[in-house]
């Protein structure tokens, strides 16, 4: 079962945000609503595109996540960096989980 959340950049400040179940956009990936099948993923994307039309976010897309030690993390490293901040600046990291960046 592929689990996905929606990621986008907020128009006003450019920050990476995730679509929550109440249609708000959060910088915290842990608040991202998880779609567990294709229909749900399509639903998320539709809501996200509406937000794009309403000038709240830019370029929304689906990001695969997987559960790891009680938290959902992106499966792709690039998305992990987007969720947490530059790996070389842990002081700018913004997530609940601040694991050691790879390497």
């Amino acid at each position: 079962m592929t689990q996905q959340v929606i990621s986008a950049n907020r128009l006003s400040d450019g920050l990476v945000v995730y679509l929550a179940s109440d249609d708000s956009w959060s910088e915290w990936i842990s608040r991202g609503e998880i779609a567990t099948d294709e229909a749900a993923a399509d639903g998320l994307l539709a809501r996200a595109k509406l937000a794009e039309e309403n000038r709240i976010v830019l370029d929304p897309y689906l990001v695969q996540v997987a559960e790891d030690d009680g938290e959902f993390r992106p499966t792709k490293y690039r998305e992990f960096i987007r969720a947490t901040g530059p790996s070389v600046r842990p002081d700018l990291s913004k997530q609940n989980f601040v694991r050691e960046a790879k390497g």
């Binding site: 128009l11 400040d13 920050l15 990476v16 000038r55 490293y77 690039r78 960096i81 790996s87 070389v88």
Partner: protein, 551 residues
Amino acid sequence: MYLYDEIDQSLVDERVVQFRDQVSRRMSGELSEDEFKPLRLMNGVYLQLHAYMLRVAIPYGTLSSEQMRKLAWIAKKYDRGYGHFTTRQNLQYNWPKLEDLPDILAELASVQMHALQTSGNCIRNVTADQYAGVAEDEVADPRVYAEIIRQWSTLHPEFSFLPRKFKIAVTGAQNDRAAVKVHDIGLIVKRNLAGELGFEVIVGGGLGRTPFVGPTICEFLPEQHLLSYLEAVLRVYNMLGRRDNMYKARIKIQVHETGAAEFTRLVEAEWGQIRDSAVDLPAGEKERIASHFVPPRYEISADAEDVLARLKREDAGFARWVDTNVFAHKAEGHAIANISLKPIGGVPGDATSEQMEAVAALADRFSFSEIRVTHEQNLVLPHVRKDNLYALWQTLKSYDLDTPNLGRVSDMIACPGMDYCSLANARSIPVAQAISERFADLDRQHDIGELKLKISGCINACGHHHAGHIGILGVDRKGEEYYQITLGGSGAEDASIGEIVGPAFAYDAVVDAVETLVDKYLAIRADGERFLDTYRRVGKDPFKEALYGAA
């Protein structure tokens, strides 16, 4: 340095108003993102991995202390307290908000700065030798021409929608510190036999997906025809350059596919039509611009040399810094001081607001308030009297700006990579940090000597890896970060494109690979050879064997 008159100031002020209006039209929905994107790009505003990114133009890498202070202040007020100096002598902010950008641009305009054309398919910041105006080997100050080109190319009505971006670099010395041969147009200022000034014109160099050393298409262009010639090149490119495939749209592809001879013929034919027209500067304008680039009033101190020599004897750390980072100056008793932004284990090219302010203050004290940014992501104080070097160095130390590694292996170029850039396939900064730490021992670095290591996080080569003595290119292999090594590149007057040495290395293995290469060099080098020289003498095989074993 060049100071704006009311005309220059009007332009940047009006552009701020225009951009403020564009942002407001975007926020209200009057402009779609598709319409807004090219407009924001022409003001240097990208949307990046984490946030917007603003690329501020630092024309030909010259900054006043007042401007540096403003950059520091903007970082503090609107960003996260730091900026990144780039391989095109610009500064990047990584966290500006769209809604703040008009105010940021207004602040920049108040100190005669802007972010015009630092992105988009237009003519970008013109870069130049960071030692312009002060190097002993200089024929003429290239910044005069860089400023002429800057103005001509700003909001050029015909060339704002080119097939792709367009980068121009100028050097005033044969020792090319501006990498002109790997630019879309490279200009080398020269004198002909009659002593008249002009340019060797190189077109079609570049790095990226298809790297080329550019051919010379004009051996000597008289200086008064600079703009008409450039206009001819740009027109041939604008009309005939490829637009079908964005990866094949740079002028280097056009020159390569057309052939240098035919391309030259097209340019000369076009130039023949416009060479004596109003495109070229009217009489007086070049002199007006050049008058901004006269040397400051250097004070000669009779014992500057002796003082320096004595202090070097007394302080080995200082001596090492002078020997590595301080460059000869054309004015008696003066020196060019390089400020490394590559502390061991640091992020190459980054500077905090505090560091920027410190450099500004040092420039006021020691360098006639002038600073330079190098394309190798370091800073320069170009006018330091020799007997002031010690005081300068002591202050640099307290800001971690004193690393004596200019041109050494830890003086790496690294693009922001996948930590910041949405184009990247792999991270480059942590690799640079790990390499820097592996070679932390300064004696060892000194023994290795000049070694230009350049790291790019993707094929776009913003880290100039093709032009590295050792180049590292980050690639994505099935979701894992891998690093391909190239050898033997150079961005100097002996320009060459590095050769791939063999299969890529995993993230965990690349630092060892670099050390293996360095150890091999040390084992086989002849007297006085840099890494690059040894490579050019023995070729790829000994290094390949060292890395991968015998074939």
